[in-house]
């Protein structure tokens, strides 16, 4: 998957070094941020609102100035370079297409500013329009187009002047679900074709997973974890990442003993489980063990699992391809299980006793998320 990311690992395209940002002088929005963006990669900044991801993007675009630290683009420090001299393309949340200009005029705008020869401008505009399949729409005004079309124009405008870097600030937020998924694929294809470095901001984790070479998960001004989607999902670094990306069951407990990658944890309800270590921890440390709902086996399939526990069904929701079962464990702890509907022809009923099994490699012991 990370094809572009591999191309040039030696010098990062963009790097944040010890970057701080505060608006009021008291509460930092971004703190002590280190981040390397590789040339040609598709990096997503993911996090809840207020986590600092958009601020990072704006600092990169030049609309915000870092309070401390430095940002490099290639090998030059760009802290004091004004935004219009950074040569960075940007796609805004609501497209920000100029309403008083036609689509063609919108695309010409960055080229006119750069005083390119007219012939070249026409060629580039035509190529950009064709790239987003809007070749016939050049004379329309933005308001005469659908949201998806406007989105494509915005994309074309951000790319038409061959920027070093393209930033996208929740560009698909205003589209409905189907169109959004369609656009995700389109963006991905464009990225693969052009090989341009893209920094993408979103709060939608599935979008992040679908598009990115790497994802940086932000919370409270920190990057909690930066990894490729699979690692992020399968080996979350802490409970925040585990619960923010995908669904997650977290049970509290203490580390009792360690055996290399494995350890034994005594959960708060008294159950002992074998788990794999996600973070370096010591004996006696407070820990969370986390397991994805789809990694919990039920009844017959749980035979042979290293960790088995019993419980009662509290709720069953039928979701077509799978069932969502809420199970109460000993000590009133609850756990959610996703079971493929096809494998569980007979329904569970409320109050049924049920056996659960979890393989140690799916049961990950995590430390508490970094926090202030």
């Amino acid at each position: 998957m990370p094809t572009h990311a591999e191309r040039n690992d030696a010098t990062p395209h963009v790097s944040f070094r010890k970057v701080w940002k505060t608006y009021d002088g008291e509460n930092p929005v971004v703190r002590d941020l280190d981040l390397d963006i590789r040339r040609g990669e598709f990096l997503t900044l993911l996090g809840p609102s207020g986590s600092g991801k958009t601020t990072c993007l704006m600092m990169l675009a030049g609309f915000e100035t870092p309070t401390g630290g430095e940002i490099r683009l290639g090998d030059r420090v760009i802290n004091s370079v004004p935004p219009h001299k950074r040569n960075i393309g940007m796609v805004f949340q609501n497209y920000a297409l100029f309403p008083h200009m036609t689509v063609r005029e919108n695309l010409r705008f960055p080229l006119d500013v750069r005083k390119l020869p007219p012939g070249e401008i026409d060629k580039k505009v035509k190529r950009a329009l064709d790239m987003v399949q809007l070749g016939d729409f050049g004379d329309r005004y933005p308001r005469q187009m659908s949201g998806g079309q406007q989105q494509r124009v915005a994309l074309a405008r951000a790319l038409v002047f061959d920027p070093e870097l393209v930033l996208m600030d929740e560009p698909l937020g205003a589209l409905d679900k189907q169109l959004r998924e369609h656009m995700q694929i389109e963006i991905k294809h464009i990225h693969e074709t052009l090989g341009v470095t893209v920094v993408f901001v979103t709060h939608d984790q599935s979008e992040a997973l679908a598009l990115s070479d790497r994802v940086a998960v932000f919370n409270k001004g920190f990057i909690q974890q930066i990894d490729d989607p699979a690692t992020l999902y399968e080996q979350p670094a802490n409970d925040f990442v585990a619960s923010f990306i995908g669904e997650n069951n977290a049970l509290g407990g203490y580390v009792e003993s360690m055996h290399g990658e494995r350890c034994q944890v005594k959960l708060d309800n008294g159950t002992r489980v074998q788990a794999s270590l996600g973070n370096p921890l010591r004996r006696g440390d407070r820990a969370l063990v986390s397991v994805r709902p789809e990694c919990v086996r039920i009844n017959a399939q749980s035979l042979g699992c290293a960790n088995r526990m019993g419980g009662y069904v509290r709720e069953v929701i039928y979701l077509g391809d799978h069932l969502r079962v809420r199970v109460e464990l000993a000590g009133r702890r609850e756990i959610v299980v996703k079971a493929p509907a096809a494998q569980h022809k007979h329904r569970f009923d409320m109050g049924d006793a049920i056996h659960l099994g979890i393989d140690p490699e799916h049961l990950r012991v995590l430390g508490m998320a970094a926090d202030a």
Partner: protein, 428 residues
């Protein structure tokens, strides 16, 4: 519906469509009537307070009832006169009769005043003649005609001249273009041709030009001052914007007269501004700030500024700051971005505010009257002058009509510019 279907069993579908269509039409019509009824009071109100007065005003501008009312028969005769040879005896006799019949009445006085308006001295000519005439008699024999001619010429020799009769004949119709012509410094000469008014009388073309010129300057000043403020208000957080808004609206809470008086106090020779400047040692002799164009401009810009700011603000409020950011991100320097991306979007506000201020400006007369010299008086001043001072409503109406037409033309141009742009961008 079932009845229809039964009656036409062959094609129930078509029947249903027809009756559905009819029903829809009926329902739509009822709805339209109902909504129409709601705006009837407004329409009546507009007709009474807007359309009717303007129509009345336009009519006043060409109305010429005075002479016809006093001397209907004479006027009828004069309408058929060639205007080059002396009128025949019948005309003399008819006029003598009608003069004798109406002398001393308000109708006679109005007619005399009306004729005097075009030819000073004609009033006393009429009075003198009426006094000298013998009592009215129904004679119209040639002999009586001859004696009437003699009697009139005996009363005043001017009746023997063509000019007096030409003047009379020009006003023998109940409508005249005289007032409208006078409003653009034109008049009829004795022979009835339209000629330019003499240099001593010519004033309105200059006044109209000045009216437009001053309105343009005030509008430009309002735009220059109002645009940054409106922008500031549109981009500040609501709390700050509200405070600014109060300051913008503050002038509305006092009457224009009070504000003009306040400017007078501030700007006069020994006023606060001059005192402050002198105390600060900036000037030695007091500046002439009032009773000239400076005072008028300051005060009018102050009064009209809100009318520029409010439309600008409402348009700017709807322009997302993202556009300028987008332009900058595309490589355009900030000021150029503002000019190329923000300003064109604010243009409807500039147009609306400019039009509003310009039109209001054209109607102003209190401010120039109190703060300006005679060299700053605008068209409205003369409208008020003719309305109140000399009670020459024809002239007032003609000047009003010209201002009104100018406003209309201006509005049309505005619609063409803004409306054209809109429709161009709307069509798919």
């Amino acid at each position: 519906m079932p009845d229809v279907a039964l009656a036409l069993p062959d094609n129930p579908g078509a029947a249903r469509t027809v009756s559905l269509k009819a029903q829809l039409r009926r329902a739509e019509r009822r709805k339209k009537l109902k909504y129409g009824a709601l705006i009837v009071p407004l329409v009546v109100f507009l007709l009474l307070t807007f359309v009717w007065p303007i129509a009345a005003l336009m009519k006043r501008a060409v109305d010429n009832p005075e002479v016809v009312a006093a001397f209907p028969a004479t006027c009828a005769l004069l309408r058929g006169w060639d205007g080059r040879s002396p009128p025949d005896d019948t005309v003399f006799a008819t006029l003598a009769n009608e003069m004798a019949a109406t002398r001393g009445t308000p109708v006679f006085a109005s007619a005399a005043k009306r004729l005097n308006m075009e030819q000073p001295g004609f009033r006393s000519l009429m009075m003198k003649t009426a006094k000298a005439l013998p009592p009215a008699a129904g004679r119209s024999a040639p002999a009586a005609g001859r004696s009437a001619r003699a009697a009139l010429i005996a009363a005043d020799a001017r009746w023997g001249e063509l000019a007096a009769w030409q003047l009379f004949a020009r006003n023998a119709s109940p409508y005249t273009a005289r007032y409208l012509l006078a409003s653009v410094d034109r008049k009829y000469d004795d022979a009835g041709h339209i000629v330019a008014a003499g240099a001593d009388e010519a004033i309105y073309v200059k006044v109209l030009k000045r009216t437009f010129g001053m309105s343009a300057v005030v509008t430009a000043c309002c735009l220059l001052l109002g645009f940054p403020l409106a922008y500031l208000m549109a981009t500040q957080p609501a709390r700050v914007a509200n405070v600014l808004m109060i300051f913008v609206l503050l002038p509305f809470w006092t009457s224009i007269l009070v504000r003009v008086a306040a400017w007078l106090v501030l700007l006069q020779r020994e006023g606060l501004v001059n005192q402050a400047l002198r105390a600060a040692g900036i000037i030695e002799k007091p500046l002439e700030l009032v009773f000239n164009d400076i005072g008028v401009y300051i005060s009018m810009v102050h009064i009209l500024l809100p009318f520029m700011i409010l439309p600008l603000y409402s348009v700017m409020k709807g322009i997302s700051p993202l556009y300028v950011r987008a332009a900058i991100s595309l490589g355009c320097p900030p000021i150029a971005s503002f000019w190329k991306v923000y300003f064109p979007q604010a243009l409807p506000g500039v147009g609306a505010g400019g039009l509003l201020v310009f039109i209001l400006c054209m109607g102003y007369y209190i401010t120039p009257a109190l703060l300006g010299s005679p060299g700053e008086q605008m068209a409205s001043y003369f409208i008020a002058f003719y309305t109140n001072q000399t009670v020459n409503w024809g002239m007032a109406a003609a000047l009003s009509a010209i201002l009104f037409m100018a406003t209309l033309v201006l509005y049309m141009v505005y619609l063409r510019l803004v409306g054209g742009q809109e429709s161009a961008s709307r069509t798919t």
